[in-house]
Subunit: 480 residues, 2 copies
Amino acid sequence: MARDERGVTAQSEDFSSWYNELVAKAQLAERGPVKGTMVIRPYGYRIWELLQAELDQRIKDTGHENAYFPLLIPESYLKREAEHVEGFSPELAVVTHAGGKELEEPLIVRPTSETVIGEMMAKWISSHRDLPLLLNQWANVVRWELRPRLFLRTTEFLWQEGHTAHLDEADAMRETLQMLDVYAEVARDIAGLPVVPGEKTPGERFAGAVRTFSIEGMMRDGKALQAGTSHYLGTNFASAFGIQYLNQGGRQELCHTTSWGMSTRMIGGVIMTHGDDKGLILPPKIAPYQVVIVPIGRGDAADAVRGAVDGLAGQLKAAGIRAHVDDRLHVSPGFKFNEWEMRGVPLRLEIGPRDLASGTGLLARRLGDGGKTAIGLDGAPQTLAAELAAFQSLLFQRAADFRESRTADVNSWPEFAAAVETGWARALHCGQPACEDAIKAETAATPRCVPFDAPAESGPCVRCDMPSAYGKRVLFGRAY
Amino acid sequence: MARDERGVTAQSEDFSSWYNELVAKAQLAERGPVKGTMVIRPYGYRIWELLQAELDQRIKDTGHENAYFPLLIPESYLKREAEHVEGFSPELAVVTHAGGKELEEPLIVRPTSETVIGEMMAKWISSHRDLPLLLNQWANVVRWELRPRLFLRTTEFLWQEGHTAHLDEADAMRETLQMLDVYAEVARDIAGLPVVPGEKTPGERFAGAVRTFSIEGMMRDGKALQAGTSHYLGTNFASAFGIQYLNQGGRQELCHTTSWGMSTRMIGGVIMTHGDDKGLILPPKIAPYQVVIVPIGRGDAADAVRGAVDGLAGQLKAAGIRAHVDDRLHVSPGFKFNEWEMRGVPLRLEIGPRDLASGTGLLARRLGDGGKTAIGLDGAPQTLAAELAAFQSLLFQRAADFRESRTADVNSWPEFAAAVETGWARALHCGQPACEDAIKAETAATPRCVPFDAPAESGPCVRCDMPSAYGKRVLFGRAY
């Protein structure tokens, strides 16, 4: 890669080009050979692994067990839940031939697994003692995309999908909200995204759900990204698949089920929430490399520096810090600085012969004014651990401040239209689908969610003056 | 589940029924709705997760990075390597429709990913500095199976597939053998399988490989299971996909590539290597529960026992032991003992009011004579950790002894035919495909591998008297 190829279009100039170029140049992902598919490169996949580990631990800590269900689903299964098949039909990939023959019944490459998991739950559940049944799977799913975008909308993506069955609505709703909470915690504490949790309006519900909840993050172009959803499915899938139990009184009852998912889309959210003109900025908790050490110096001095740098990297790794030594000989230190800045590494430590003599290294942070600070190498593991923790907090705060600065309470249509040009609008809305559609047609904004934490409020709809629904303001924005 | 439904057919009576019943009753896996597919239940999936973690760490420690490549591969890609497409054609699942339309080019659901990864490697590699390129992915693959068997041969299975590109044959062969070594280590030290590593004969090679290596385990019915393979692909895929680099002299060279995989089949190997008439026996290192604690006692005593047992379970977990308290009230202790024996839990600890009073618990081991030993609860974490380590060694040794007792050096055809009735035969062989075919037709035995550790030897072929090939004895057996 020649030096002048490294730069990416400035974020402030063309957000979309910035994103596409950055995903490629930071070596996060590339387009696969089939339209809409994605190759996740090691640097991007490592972010996913780190995010996965955090989410998986919380899924287990809340009592769920991982399992695995088949990729290929009989077409007839999808048709059993009417809204579900209607919602997913346009996006399905269909296997018609296998083992050298045409199949009697076409098979669907799973777009989500409510149906096949519902079929199995029906076999496994017979008594109230079998409930709740708390399952999760890490898997790939396929939804045909006409306008693909790496990480954000790809024909195949990776995710986890939780599927649970419960005695009644109360228990299923408790689960639905608990898992939204888990998503909000991972988004905030791990990915540094100050997401807004809330309920989707009826028009934005998952196909087959009774209630859908989401966490919404604001990207640096002011648009929203839905970063995780949790659904209360009522008895819709239970009645379609016969998921029922004998209650304590000896009567058959339908289970109430839930499903919830978070996907590789989250990586797109991290890129677009934190990145700047220079490129990526990664939250330390999911950065493949938290600290990159660049040894400086040529000739005889190089060997001594190299030895010291390797020793330091070993100490950092032993202290649980993901450190990487960039010891490439065929590129200059300046090239390395630019490259790791573009790839979003939180901290960089430069060490040359003179630093070594004074027992220090020059620390550069990916956030802030770009100034460098000398730090003592003796206490480097402690110093850098503290720097990483501060970096993580600062990144979250920066995103939270940005979101607040781009969100407005609006009470008139002109205010609404202006707000969604650059960010989000909190507005009273009538809740009518036709009015939602009109808003979308005129401004491209959609209701993102009805935030949990909005205060009770009512009044005329911002668009049509009819009485407001939901008892509080709705969050509107353009969305990915 | 009624008490009399729990038993499984004795292994010694009907191995195949024993296996099928056990996989279901131990809640490891079930058949999925589509023929040949598998649902991996939480107990089975946890074994996979534990195995995965061990293997993944070793894959990373040897310098590989995880990535993810698309599930759907253009049909034309598979055709680029002639032997590869010939080998896989009968097993392919084909997507012909997607997004509501017929596709211009059919897509293959990956049976393995040499082709699509080869295509991407060609883009990423340009200079000798880009080599070696060491990639791995954890993924699902689909190969249509006419005679499916849970874990052993399923239409979809989970695996990791490593794909690497190198400067030359020497480096690629070093990698191929290194990864076979990693597989052998995981099989032996983690899964307790005393596998035999060696090279496959030409007729048993992977479609498109120059050399194929495998680890072979012996099941308790004397049959072999190939538990992992590693392939040196030469420049076959490099020339089909244009994977080349500029060498230091400025000339374009083809890369030498490798691939290697280990799958959920391994779980079938664990079941069939260690299980007995009573059911599963799990190696502690991959047992979802290493110790099950069964509280004994009713009424007032139950509360005190329950409190003590929970405290102990907490101590064991803190010491890194996977402990589970079976506190079900609607089944008897005897039912629990039988169930956890059937499900293969290495250690069971029974604690009742009298044990509590004496500060002890009654330890039962899944291997051995079934006698119980009182152990002090104070030192339980240390005692049980030592018991688990001993159990792991004993299980390996038991399998190794079994394998040796069922393997014979044979020098005549009658000896050969007798040996492969109950186990393996080490025999000199001419290496001719027609002779391999004749052996298979007559005895159902195939060459499993040419073991690395066999001493140099030559002489007449055990079947046809022609001069032997390979310079050593070949390992023959019937195989899954």
